[in-house]
């Protein structure tokens, strides 16, 4: 039997990147999660799977829009018309999956919960339990039925398998317990990076988010095709994401000409791009410092290079301060003094106050960008930027 396993679609949750300020790109990607859902449906039909498994967080609590259900219902309806059922569970973001309030999604869609913990699809029995609405601080595994003898058993679970970080500690669960539960395959959801765990007879897969939304979700972009036959479960990762998020650091020596630097940057960008890519770039080394001289200088220079490469979109572009560079001899007196000043408690206090003033002027959602923890880095960046501008004044 074949199943297509996906999770954490987070439908209509926007992509968070400066790159999306480009109107063309925003126009193409504003419904990225919907396009990915359509791709998943196409893939399920093309691979003739027995069922589509959605392991929670189909929706996103940050986007409370009932219209999103219409998108999902139509996509799954198309799948049902092709003879392929969908089995899903609610995750911690799936308030819109309440059938009592919003109705069912269609005849071919099976939502597993306490009232209906299992469904039979061909030779397989699929088990699952849905998020109850409150915080799940304990393992959900005890709520899952024992495997049905003589049938293929699959489990859908939205949880935090041990060893994962960076997410809410939601429904913690030991992978070893899953592997020993007697199911052939565990279709998990919740963690946005893909992972696999294989036991003697069972396979546990966290498929990751099908479309990463920001730079910390660079390890998603796929769904998992599961084949279960006499030789046990086999998983195959299938890409569906429209655009990937990547980070790259490009080191620029100090003795390059500007042309050579641009060549080196272009090579770095080209090497980091894998298909359509949103790229966060850090320029490092002594040769990078001139790019810090003016606000937006680095981004402007890299934008032209990225446009020539094609399908490469810039997220933040940062110039890392190069502390190894000795103080410039001419501007050096001043730069050295700046560093001395920056090291005093009085200056740090003043800098923290300036930071606080600016933070208060920002919309609340953006204030985290310059919270107190960022002070050290901002001081280093600021000193480097002013030093670079002074150095430019000398060469002018």
């Amino acid at each position: 039997m074949r199943f297509l396993h996906a999770a954490d679609l987070h439908l209509d949750s926007p992509l968070r990147s400066v790159a999306l300020r480009d109107p063309d790109l925003a126009g193409r990607l504003h419904d990225a999660s919907r396009q990915v859902l359509a791709r998943i449906v196409d893939l399920a039909i093309e691979r003739r799977v027995d069922a589509l498994l959605l392991a929670g967080d189909v929706f996103d609590n940050g986007v409370p829009d009932v219209a999103t259900r219409t998108v999902l219902a139509r996509a799954l309806g198309r799948l049902g018309a092709a003879g392929i059922p969908t089995v899903l569970i609610r995750g911690n973001h799936d308030g819109l999956l309440d059938p009592a309030r919003y109705g069912a999604l269609g005849d071919s869609v099976f939502l597993l919960d306490a009232d209906r913990p299992s469904v039979e699809i061909g030779a397989a029995t699929i088990h699952g339990t849905s998020h109850s609405g409150g915080p799940e601080t304990r393992s959900l595994l005890p709520r899952y039925p024992a495997p049905v003898p003589g049938r293929i058993n699959l489990g859908l679970m939205h949880c935090s398998p041990d060893g994962t970080r960076g997410h809410d500690p939601y429904a913690p669960c030991a992978v070893s317990d899953l592997l020993e539960h007697g199911y052939d395959y565990w279709a998990l959801g919740h963690i946005h990076a893909r992972q696999e765990w294989r036991g003697d007879r069972a396979l546990v897969v966290m498929p990751g988010i099908p479309q990463g939304r920001h730079i910390r979700e660079s390890r998603g972009g796929s769904v998992t095709l599961v084949r279960i036959d006499g030789e046990g479960p086999q998983a195959e990762e299938l890409p569906v994401g429209l655009v990937g998020f990547r980070e790259v650091s490009i080191d620029l020596p100090g003795d390059d000409t500007q042309t050579a630097r641009l060549h080196r940057i272009a090579d770095g960008l080209r090497g980091a791009a894998e298909g359509p890519t949103v790229l966060r770039v850090t320029l490092a080394g002594p040769g990078a410092q001139p790019f810090a001289a003016g606000a937006g200088d680095a981004r402007h220079a890299l934008s032209e290079l990225a446009a020539e490469i094609g399908e490469l979109y810039l997220d933040r572009v940062r110039v890392a301060p190069d502390l190894s560079v000795p103080d410039d001899a001419a501007a050096g007196d001043l730069v050295a003094l700046m560093r001395l000043e920056a090291g005093t408690a009085g200056f740090r206090e003043e800098a923290a106050r300036m930071l606080s003033d600016l933070r208060d002027a920002l919309p609340p959602e953006a204030r985290d960008a310059i919270d107190d923890d960022t002070l050290e880095g901002l001081m280093a960046d600021g000193l480097a930027a002013v030093a670079a501008r002074l150095s430019m004044a000398r060469s002018e």
Binding site: D12, S13, P14, L15, R16, V18, A19, L20, R21, A26, G27, H30, D31, R34, V63, P64, D65, V66, A67, V71, R101, T257, G294, A295, P326, D328, A329, A330, G332, D333, L334, V335, L337, M338, R339, L340, E341, A342, F347, A351, M354, L355, L358, A361, L362, P363, E365, A369, T374, L378, M379, D381, G382, A385, V386, A387, R389, L390, A393, R394
Partner: protein, 1132 residues
């Protein structure tokens, strides 16, 4: 560092040009370099920078006369009391060499540049008119800010203010307090608009619930309306059905009456009317067809009588076709026969001529005729023979040349020279001595200078000052001394202040006491207690007087009475006096407290002063001074001891370095001497290094001669081997010639004879080939003629003789085509006769069939014998249509009752009310309107729900919002960083102003006064906010620096640069300072002043002044007598 000579070996338009600045003389090191415009002053300065820092990595503007790789700059510079001769090439590595081209590491120069890179050196130690002007602008841009001005003077940079303004602009573009056009407020506006769009675009769960409830209610209302409409429509339908059935019955009666006028008979078959009309037409058309066929049959019979067949002509066709298909040797036979008839005789003549030529050559080569031709007359044998004979000749020439070369070389080779020894060891030792040997003289001089400096610094101290200083512990730090002195001074001040304060407090106390005493003496100040006491005294006096009733007691009573009355009167009028007394009492109490406090302060200040004085005495002792030494002496002594200690340490370091150098030098000397002796050299009476260098050159010469002799011997051996190989090669090639000739006409002939006979043999071979070819062609022609004769026997018999084969064939073909045409015409006319017979028979049968069918269709009809069958048939058809109408009306009456309730329909049929139908129709219309309204409401509710669900949400606005916030985050980080960096720069400038204000302000003030001829007598600073502003004073009138005229600002900038130079030299040491025509915009007075400052620069280090003005050169000679003048030649 000082530049003694700059060599422009190949640079720009210069070749072999040197600028000799000479050795420093006197105490003023100034060189004026004069040259007209374009003479190369800027080129020379750039060359100096290239020498110091290397050529720029790529295109240099000075590679126009010479290729970049050939550029070369050299210099002789003075450093640390010695000189370095250097050269610089544009090579990527190893570009710095000594005067002999040996590579030098970069640090040889870098250590004397005090950490300055190329640009920093250029900005700090060069000055031209453009820099002066931009420096003046910087003073204006900096608004006279002291820190920025001192920075400009120190660094030589003049774009600081613009740079900081640019950074500030970047920050301001993002956010400014109270601003409305920056990125932050603009983003907030956009966020607000996006939030509204998102709110409108999303279908929130609560709104969804509302829409759902509304739809369900509308759905129920629409269902009820539909039910009412259905009932109204049913009632109307029954009434309409009853009316319809009544109308159908009336129609039936009318049709039945019409049928009575038509003939009886069965119904006609379907389509009988058009069929009968068609049958009548068919019979008429068959009759016409029969007449046309009879005429055609008669015409065919007439044509057949005139045609005669030709069987012989028809026989010719296959034979001619066969002859045309025949081939001979792959070509059509007829074409070959035509060729043979034309060429056969000419080919036979040609063969006879060739046979004669061949016979002649056979006889020339072998002496025999053509009937016995020579063997091996083949082209490949001739080619191989030709090549073999040619190679043999070449090999014989090479063998002779190789032998001659070898013999010549042996004659020139003499006896072997001897082998030298020890060259490598001597070379290594000499290199080590040259590269690693320390400069002992310089180190000794440095050590002596250090000792002298140490002694000078310790002058005035006891001999054992260092030991005593060790006994007292480490030299206290400057901060520590300053703290002790400051505390002593502060404590003394505090004590003096406390004494003064205590004295004031005591005086205040006395005053308060006196004022209280005066207040107490005022009668009006009597208080209630005093009144009570006086009243008691009066009562006691009265009691005593009543008991005694004598004059004494009476007087006492009277006195007491009066005192009491007076006190009562005074109290009644003394409220102000009592208030004054109370104030005086409080004043006294406060003065007493103040006096006590002042006394405590005096005690405290005394204790602090004692402690500070004790600390000062201890500090004096630590600094080897008497305990009562004043603070000024303590500070001076600490500075003196610190200097003395530094110089003593420096002297020790110098001596230690000298000792290590001497050891190293001795080791290198010993190694070199040993290497010289081992290699057979003789030290003699001269110095070691020159002797070693000379002997090394001797050894290298001997080694070169020995190497050349060995090379020649090896060459002779090689030549002998070459000669032997060439002779072997010649012999082998002769054998090849003999091998190729074997079996052919050349066998046994000498190579030269073979070479001579080869052209005839090649010609004979060609003639023999021609003979064979001609024989083959003649034979083929004869055979073709014979084949044609056999094949063309029949045509010749039928046609007779013809002029050649082609004519015969064409005549036969003509006869065949005529016979064939006649046969075809006979066949055509026979077929036409037969077809006409068949058509006549068919037409007769068609006419009979049509008339029989008409009779069958009208059988049984009343009056069927009528003359016009089609008209009769149409009448019968009208009758049949009326019969069908009657049946249809019966069916309609029955069908009109189908689907209706029979009882309800019967009821309606019994109603005789003309207004019933309109009434029921109105009821339906009313119900329909109600249902429409309900359905529209339901449709609107469903559409609202569907529209909300299908609206697409607000994903685009959500995306824009997320991206905008990311942009804002990124911008906030950048703006915050730049804001902090800017604050650091401003703080640093304040610190720079504070750190350098002393020395630099003094130097700037002196230079500025000199440059302006004393018009600006001094510089001051005004504090403004957190910074300070530089102000010039002229005629006691203060003018801010940025408010000065453009020319004055340029002079102030020059003064700042001179002060910056002084500060650098004081901290790091001198470097050549180059000015380029900075005086040309000055009048003579100011130029003279500037030259005096140039002389001042020259007293601190080397000053080089480029100019193209002759009068400035003369002025420099007058103002600076020690100045050296170099004249650059004009550019060609």
């Amino acid at each position: 560092m000082r530049l003694r000579r700059l060599d422009l070996v190949r640079y720009g338009h210069f070749e072999g040009q040197s600028l000799d600045f000479g050795a420093a003389t006197g105490d003023c090191d100034v060189t004026v370099v004069y040259g007209p415009n374009e003479a190369g002053k800027s080129t020379a300065f750039t060359a100096w920078l290239d020498l110091l820092y290397g050529f720029p990595p790529r295109n240099t503007p000075y590679a126009f006369r010479f290729d970049r790789k050939d550029l070369l700059v050299g210099a002789e510079i003075e450093v640390d009391g010695g000189t370095l001769t250097l050269q610089r090439t544009p090579k990527k590595t190893g570009s710095l060499t000594d005067g002999d081209g040996r590579g030098l590491p970069e640090h040889v120069l870098a250590t004397h540049l005090h950490g300055l890179d190329r640009d920093a050196y250029r900005t700090r130690f060069s000055l031209n008119d453009a820099v002066l002007r931009s420096g003046g602008e910087e003073i204006a841009a900096a608004k006279g800010d002291l820190g920025r001005l001192l920075h400009a003077g120190t660094s030589g940079l003049s774009g600081l203010s613009q740079a900081l303004d640019d950074v500030q602009s970047d920050v301001d573009a993002f956010y400014q307090k109270g601003g409305s056009k920056q990125a932050v407020p603009e983003a907030k506006r956009q966020l607000k608009a996006l939030d509204a769009t998102i709110h409108d675009g999303r279908l929130a769960p609560l709104r969804h619930d509302d829409l759902l409830r509304t739809r369900d209610a509308r759905r129920a209302e629409a269902g009820a309306a539909r039910d009412r409409l259905s009932e109204a429509r049913r009632a109307l339908a029954h009434a309409e059905a009853a009316a319809r059935r009544a109308a159908l019955r009336a129609e039936r009666d009318r049709v039945a009456r019409q049928l009575d006028d038509f003939p009886d008979g069965p119904d006609l078959p379907p389509d009988a009317v058009p069929e009968i009309a068609a049958l009548v037409e068919n019979a008429r058309e068959a009759d016409a067809r029969r007449a046309r066929s009879i005429a055609a049959r008669d015409a065919a019979a007439d044509r057949l009588h005139g045609l005669v067949p030709d069987p012989d002509g028809l026989d010719l066709g296959p034979v001619i076709a066969e002859i045309r298909e025949m081939t001979f040797d792959g070509q059509p036979l007829l074409m070959r026969v035509g060729g043979a008839e034309a060429d056969l005789d000419r080919r036979r003549d040609e063969r006879a001529a060739v046979a004669r030529d061949a016979d002649r050559l056979c006889r020339k080569i072998t002496g025999r005729g053509l009937d016995d031709p020579p063997p091996g007359l083949r082209r490949e044998i001739h080619d191989r023979l030709d090549a073999a004979v040619q190679r043999l000749a070449e090999a014989e020439v090479e063998a002779r040349a190789a032998r001659t070369t070898m013999d010549d070389a042996r004659e020139d080779h003499g006896a072997p020279p001897p082998v030298p020894k020890g060259e490598d060891a001597l070379s290594d030792a000499l290199a080590a001595m040259q590269e690693d040997a320390p400069d002992l003289d310089a180190l000794r001089e440095t050590a002596a200078d250090s000792d002298a400096a140490a002694d000078s610094a310790a002058e005035g101290l006891a001999q054992d000052w260092r030991a005593r200083l060790s006994d007292t512990g480490e030299l206290p730090g400057d901060d520590t001394v300053a703290a002790v002195l400051s505390e002593a001074e502060h404590a003394a001040t505090r004590l003096a202040e406390a004494d003064t304060h205590a004295s004031d407090a005591r005086a205040a106390l006395e005053t308060a006491r006196a004022r209280l005493d005066a207040a107490e003496r005022n009668p009006g100040s009597v208080d209630a207690a005093a009144l009570q006491r006086l009243r008691g005294e009066r009562e006691a006096a009265w009691s005593a007087h009543r008991a005694a009733l004598d004059a004494v007691t009476a007087d006492r009573f009277e006195a007491a009475l009066r005192a009491d009355d007076a006190a009562i009167a005074a109290h009644a009028a003394g409220a102000d006096a009592r208030a004054a007394l109370l104030a005086r009492q409080e004043e006294l109490a406060a003065a007493e407290v103040e006096a006590r406090t002042a006394l405590e302060l005096v005690e405290s200040a005394k204790a602090r002063n004692d402690k500070a004085m004790k600390a000062l005495a201890e500090m004096a002792a630590r600094l080897l001074l008497p305990p009562d030494a004043p603070g000024t002496a303590v500070r001076a002594r600490r500075t003196m001891l610190a200097t003395a200690l530094d110089r003593a340490a420096a002297a020790e370091t110098a001596r230690s370095r000298l000792t290590r150098a001497e050891t190293r030098h001795a080791a290198l000397t010993e190694t070199l001497a040993s290497a010289l002796a081992d290699s057979g050299g003789d030290l003699g009476a001269g110095a070691l290094v020159p002797a070693a260098r000379r002997h090394l050159e001797t050894l290298r010469g001997a080694q070169a001669a020995r190497t050349a002799w060995e090379d020649q011997a090896a060459r002779i051996d090689k030549l002998a081997k070459l000669a032997e190989r060439a002779e072997r090669d010649a012999r082998a090639r002769l054998a090849v010639v003999e091998d190729v000739a074997a079996g052919s006409w050349a066998e046994g002939m000498a190579p030269q004879a073979i070479r001579a006979a080869l052209p005839d043999a090649r010609d004979l071979a060609g003639l023999m080939g021609d003979l064979r070819d001609l024989d083959r062609r003649i034979d083929a022609m004869e055979r073709a003629l014979a084949a044609f004769g056999a094949a063309a026997a029949l045509p010749r018999r039928i046609i007779g003789d013809a002029e050649g084969a082609d004519a015969l064939i064409r005549a036969a073909e003509s006869r065949f085509r005529a016979a064939e045409e006649t046969a075809r015409e006979i066949a055509t006319q026979s077929t036409a006769h037969e077809k006409a017979d068949e058509a006549i028979r068919t037409a007769e049968m068609d006419a009979r069939a049509a008339r029989g069918r008409i009779s069958a269709l009208l059988e049984g009809q009343e009056g069927a014998e009528a003359a016009d069958p089609p008209a009769f048939a149409r009448r019968l058809a009208q009758r049949d249509a009326l019969r069908a109408d009657l049946a249809r009306i019966d069916d309609d009456i029955a069908r009109a009752a189908v689907g209706f309730d029979a009882a309800r329909l019967a009821g309606e049929e019994s109603v005789d009310d003309p207004a019933r139908l309109p009434l029921l129709a109105d009821a339906v219309a009313t119900a329909e309107a109600e249902a429409d309204t309900a359905n529209q409401a339901l449709g609107a509710a469903e559409e609202a729900l569907r529209g909300a669900l299908d609206a697409g949400g607000a994903a685009a606005a959500d995306q824009d919002r997320a991206a905008l916030l990311e942009d804002l985050r990124s911008g906030a980080r950048d703006a915050a960083a730049r804001m902090i960096g800017l604050a650091a720069a401003r703080a640093a400038l304040r610190r720079l102003g504070e750190d350098r204000r002393g020395l630099m302000l003094r130097e700037t003030q002196a230079a500025f006064a000199t440059l302006t001829g004393g018009v600006w007598e001094r510089l001051e600073t005004w504090r403004e906010g957190q910074g300070e502003r530089m102000v010039g004073i002229s005629d006691d009138v203060p003018v801010p620096a940025d408010g000065m005229s453009t020319g004055t600002r340029a002079q102030l900038y020059l003064a700042l640069r001179i002060a910056g130079h002084a500060a650098f030299v004081a901290e790091a040491g001198p470097l050549p300072f180059v000015t380029d025509d900075i005086l040309e915009t000055f009048d003579d007075t100011r130029a003279a002043a500037a030259l005096e400052l140039t002389a001042e620069l020259g007293r601190r280090g080397q000053a080089i002044l480029f100019t193209h003005h002759v009068h400035l050169v003369e002025m420099a000679r007058t103002r600076i007598p020690e100045a050296r003048v170099i004249t650059l030649p004009p550019r060609k």
